[in-house]
Assembly symmetry: C2
Homo-oligomer: 359 residues x 2
């Protein structure tokens, strides 16, 4: 049977104070009141049975997830005691699915992006399921056809096409986030896809890879499934590591018995990792301001104004250019758009100077 | 007997959103938790009996006034149904005092400024009472000895000193807010005081002036006192006009039978009319930022950051210079310090675009 696990972890510091420790960006109700998590869930409807959709998130966010996805079946939230990088979300999910269904094939999907069109995404994911079902030894990744030399993504180097699966390629190498000139060369070559961070595999295949590469992790996630009471104790012993680094990279260069293949996603792939990308999705006024919520501007241009402090609050700006103003009930952020990459630094100061509950 | 009426009306747009229609600046608890109204009240203690201190304010603020001045005697709040400029606050107050005490002498004092030292203020006000008691036909104003060619105040042109009252002068002319060069000439001449907007007179003398100058107003305020039930109906018929324009200017040029005299106030007279003057009273950090409330700054200098949104809120600023950020529960203001004189314009936009309840 087919399963999907939506990964909704992370703290989303770059969107602070919209997102924060208490509410990662996937849970923000930002787009017509829908969160990225909700959009990720709706993208799966029709593709798999709803009772085989799971969400892996921080345990502290379980109630938020349940509120946003009331359809989610009981027991389908995997609440991590703490974030311990992507491998452990993936490994625990595989152990859970393998326990329910030893033949289970699981897709790990992200909730960090806006994806259009949805039916193209569904077609690619269906193809990825078919490959994983037909080729039990495969680790299938999704690769986004790049539209720019983006330096914020990893890249997949495509090799030959799989027999019988047009458009599905073996992957010869995983590349970390490149410098701009390298990214441009990748784009020009036409041989690379962006690493979408989404995967499809048989649950037992992934666990078998871990048996070869990180046997301690494989054993621990099986123990957690066998005795959920020990989740806290065991989860905190797991090695923090990314799935790319722990599994996909070694497997792609032949260090295991698996084959790494990729299905192309011909989609519009909009990162909402930071305010600049969030701004692209907002309404723009005639002065180039990106606006969200109740705001009033005078002599203000090229700025981003986000009022998420509720219907009884107004944000008023005068004489600003190139500024970012974000108001929530618990924090006000004012900075220049050129400084948005440093928000993490500011949030660290907020944590140390004002206190963790403000960060 | 001596009475004092503290005038605490006005909307304080220049300090929006700290002050707003629902809470004029005199009621803001800004200085060690004390409002300007509270400070104005405490300045009077020892000078007049507390049960003869009244407050004239907008009726909507009566509860706030009562909370800030629990000592205030029952019935000593004059709640205007709406602000109708200074003459009507003055005229109504005179009618109320004359009704309680036909011999009553009343001081009309403002609550817009920080005044130091308080004992010097008390001495001058006591002198003003003495003049008004000794010379029943006098309209006594208080004049601040100017320290700069301020263009935001009106000026009083002093004439000869009164016999028996050293330092008390007849006033030959009221001058409106002057241009800078005119203000400088006034300052250089040594013949001018700032018009403090505070007055002392017998209540019946002021009403007698109104009988001569604005008989309709005189009749209406007497009717309000005779039949308080008709306050709403009658108050709204009063002509909107300032006391300077309606009474002091004509009387100073001999158009009535009164004499206009002034007592000098040798005080430090700090306007808290706008954010620049408010900032002078706040804590400053080593980068020249004026800070109030819980804030965190990174690479920010020469800015004013006011967090009045409560203990659960943080204001975080990065990369700002010369900016003003004010956060309250109901509004966020971000502008440049050079634009603070235009806040009224922005608040007008807030009123029309967002709605009156946000302004």
């Amino acid at each position: 049977m087919r399963y999907v696990v939506i990964m909704a972890g992370g703290s989303g510091t770059r969107l602070w104070p919209l997102s924060r420790q208490g509410r990662p960006k996937q849970l923000l109700e930002m787009l017509d009141g829908k969160s990225l998590l909700r959009l990720a869930y709706e993208r799966l409807i029709g593709l798999v049975d709803e009772d085989r959709i799971l969400v892996c998130t921080g345990r502290a966010h379980a109630d938020d997830v349940r509120a946003q996805l009331p359809e989610l079946a009981e027991g389908n939230i995997l609440g991590e005691p703490e974030g311990r990088d992507s491998l452990n979300a993936v490994a625990w999910s595989a152990a859970v699915v393998a326990d329910r269904d030893p033949e289970g094939v699981v897709a790990m999907v992200t909730a960090d992006h806006i994806i259009e069109p949805v039916d193209e995404f569904q077609r690619s994911l269906a193809t990825a399921f078919e490959v994983a079902e037909a080729r039990p030894n495969s680790l299938v990744t999704l690769g986004v056809v790049p539209t720019s030399p983006h330096t914020g993504y990893g890249y997949l180097h495509r090799a030959d096409e799989l027999d019988g699966f047009p458009g599905v390629h073996r992957i010869s190498e995983f590349k970390e986030k490149p410098a701009l000139d390298v990214a441009q060369a990748y784009l020009d070559s036409g041989e690379y896809w962006w690493n979408a961070g989404m995967f499809v595999w048989r649950a037992t295949t992934l666990l078998g890879q871990l048996d070869q590469l990180l046997p301690e992790t494989a054993r621990t996630v099986r123990e957690i499934v066998a005795d959920p009471q020990r989740l806290d104790e065991l989860f905190l012993t797991l090695q923090k590591i990314s799935v790319d680094y722990a599994v996909m990279e070694p497997a792609s260069v032949g260090r295991t018995d698996a084959e790494v293949v990729s299905v192309g996603l011909h989609i519009d792939w909009q990162d909402v990792g930071g305010f600049l990308s969030l701004a692209e999705m907002l309404t723009h006024d005639e002065h180039g301001n990106a606006i969200d919520g109740r705001t009033v501007t005078l002599d203000t241009s090229g700025s981003v104004l986000v009022n998420a402090a509720g219907p009884d609050h107004v944000v008023a700006a005068m004489g600003l250019e190139g500024c970012l103003v974000v108001a929530t009930g618990s924090a006000t952020l004012v900075t220049r758009l050129g400084d948005t990459e440093r928000i993490r630094e500011l949030v660290d100061l907020v944590r140390t100077q004002a206190g963790a509950r403000y960060a």
